[in-house]
Amino acid sequence: MNEFDQMYREVILDHYKNPRGHGEMENADAEAEGQNPLCGDEVSIYVAFADDGETIDEVKFSGRGCAISQAATSMLTEMVRGRKAIDVARLDKDELLEEIGIPLTPVRLKCAMLGLTTLKVALHKAKGTPLPDGLAGFDELELS
């Protein structure tokens, strides 16, 4: 298997072409926008909590980006549904990277992390918890 078959393996292309959770959400319980100034890619993330106000019931995302960022965000929506907001806000990025399962260079790592970082910001904002220093550490990603 050559390198680009590895990087653009079937599952990545599938998530890219058929993104799960793609769309917007009105009256989301949590929401944030992020962009990657290196390439101008943008993502908006919307979260609806279950009745307990803690469990993630639904996640949607919109925006534009490369296959890696779009696929990673699509996978992310599948990963976090049903989990507690607090756990996801602290999610180890390796968990997502494992799911993505391809070797990433530093520049592409930023693509892959755009969705997760934006989701974390949405959750922290909704819960009023301070952004951990490690998050601000995604220094190429502008979050708002």
Partner: protein
């Protein structure tokens, strides 16, 4: 600017042999380096001259009475004279060494702008500007209460000059700042016309020549501009050095920008006086070896000849536009080959530029994918990013073929 028959044709294959970077394989493939607009590769001759300088003639310049300091000073000032000759400045003292074109523009924006702009004034840039000739003006305009206006683009990616009067009606134009060649689209802009217009308005004209100076003759006297900014690293020179040219009268009348050692005449607690040009604008230890390398790069390019370089790049651009035109689902941006420098921007339908560039990289092809520091232009084009292939004097047609091959693979992966 039509393609002229050059006196001599350049031999890209021979030139290429001067560039050590091509002596390696990338992902097992020959390197097709198509990102020279971001920064060019370096010829051995230039690298050797810097090493030689450090090994035999290095010391801090200007103030030293001893042999090494004299040699270093002569080397730095010799490089300044080479830059002067490159841009045909009337006086060598009008050449100020800076880190890069960005700093050159900031120097003017701060030093001239902070002291000459105010409410009611207008700074005019274009929709085609690199952030480095946009954000400094926006920031200094903001600090001084002046306004920023933008000359828009036609659909072909050329400046639309039909609305100039409407812009002039918005305020007192004090600065017009545009590039000579667009780093995104390769467009060659009608700078002479804009200079005339700027001067009619009583404005100064700042020319961002970062992308033109590597590829064509830039003659500040023929242009008639007031300030011209260039970067060495885009023209076979080292990183860490660039030059600002400015008119003596303006430079003399300006406040200095960076303050410190070397740029003073006398320093007292009560009052400090500034040194003469160019020293007044060169605070602290100069990028000495970098200036020497810049000089060596100029020697290298001039031996080949800017006419030959420009003509060759037009050929490459035409060839690339032709070959890329063979591909389905490809959008090409910018003007026709005869009105553009060796830069080609495009998008592949349904594939994000990052993915295009990544898959190309795996085939040894280096292009740039992104906004190219031109977000206002990207907005205009309605995209987040484009792919950009750019050429230089060491580029060979096989590299463009390798790009086209690679794009077929991109389409296959995303089929």
């Amino acid at each position: 600017m039509a393609v002229q028959a050059p006196k001599k044709r350049l031999d890209a294959r021979a030139i290429r042999a001067d560039f050590p970077i091509f002596e390696q394989l990338i992902h097992g493939q020959p390197l097709a380096f198509l990102d020279s607009a971001a920064s060019s590769q370096k010829p051995r001759q230039m690298l050797e001259e810097m090493t030689e300088f450090y090994s035999t003639s290095y010391a801090n310049v200007h103030r030293g009475v001893y042999v090494l300091a004299e040699r270093a000073t002569a080397a730095l000032e010799g490089a300044r004279e080479k830059v002067r000759a490159l841009v045909n400045a009337p006086d060598v003292r009008e050449i100020i060494f800076v880190r890069n074109a960005t700093e050159a523009i900031n120097l003017v924006a701060y030093s001239w702008g902070l002291n000459n702009l105010g409410p009611g004034d207008l700074v005019v840039v274009t929709e085609l500007e690199h952030h480095s000739n946009f954000v400094p003006w926006q920031y200094i305009a903001g600090r001084t209460g002046a306004k920023l206006a933008m000359i828009p683009l036609t659909d072909e990616g050329e400046l639309d000059l039909s609305g100039l009067d409407a812009i002039a009606a918005q305020g007192q134009i004090k600065v017009v700042a545009t590039n000579q060649v667009s780093n995104s689209l390769g467009t060659i802009n009608p700078v002479e016309k804009l200079v005339a217009w700027a001067h009619d308005q009583g404005a100064i004209f700042v020319c961002d020549a970062a992308q033109s100076a590597p590829h064509m003759t830039v003659d500040v006297q023929a242009l008639g501009a007031d300030f011209v900014a260039i970067s060495a690293h885009k023209m076979c020179g080292p990183s860490g050095v660039g030059a600002l040219w400015g008119r003596t009268e303006l430079l003399r009348a300006m406040e200095p920008f960076l303050l410190g050692g070397h740029m003073i005449n006398s320093v007292r607690l009560e009052k400090t006086t500034w040194g003469e040009l160019p020293h007044k604008f060169e605070a602290g230890t100069a990028p000495m070896a970098e200036a020497v390398g810049f000089g060596a790069a100029i020697d290298y390019l001039q031996a080949i000849g800017f006419d030959a370089i420009e003509a060759y790049e037009h050929e490459l651009a035409a060839y690339a536009l032709g070959r890329l035109g063979e591909l389905d689902g490809l959008t090409l941006y910018g003007p026709p080959a005869d009105r553009r420098a060796g830069i080609v921007s495009f998008n592949v339908e349904g594939v994000h530029p990052h993915d295009v560039a990544q898959i190309l990289d795996m085939q040894g092809v280096a292009i740039r994918a992104g906004h190219h520091c031109c977000q206002p232009l990207m907005q205009k084009l309605g995209v987040a990013a484009t792919n950009r292939a750019s050429f230089y004097l060491y580029t060979v047609r096989e590299e463009i073929d390798q790009l086209v091959e690679g794009l077929h693979t991109v389409r296959k992966v995303f089929a």
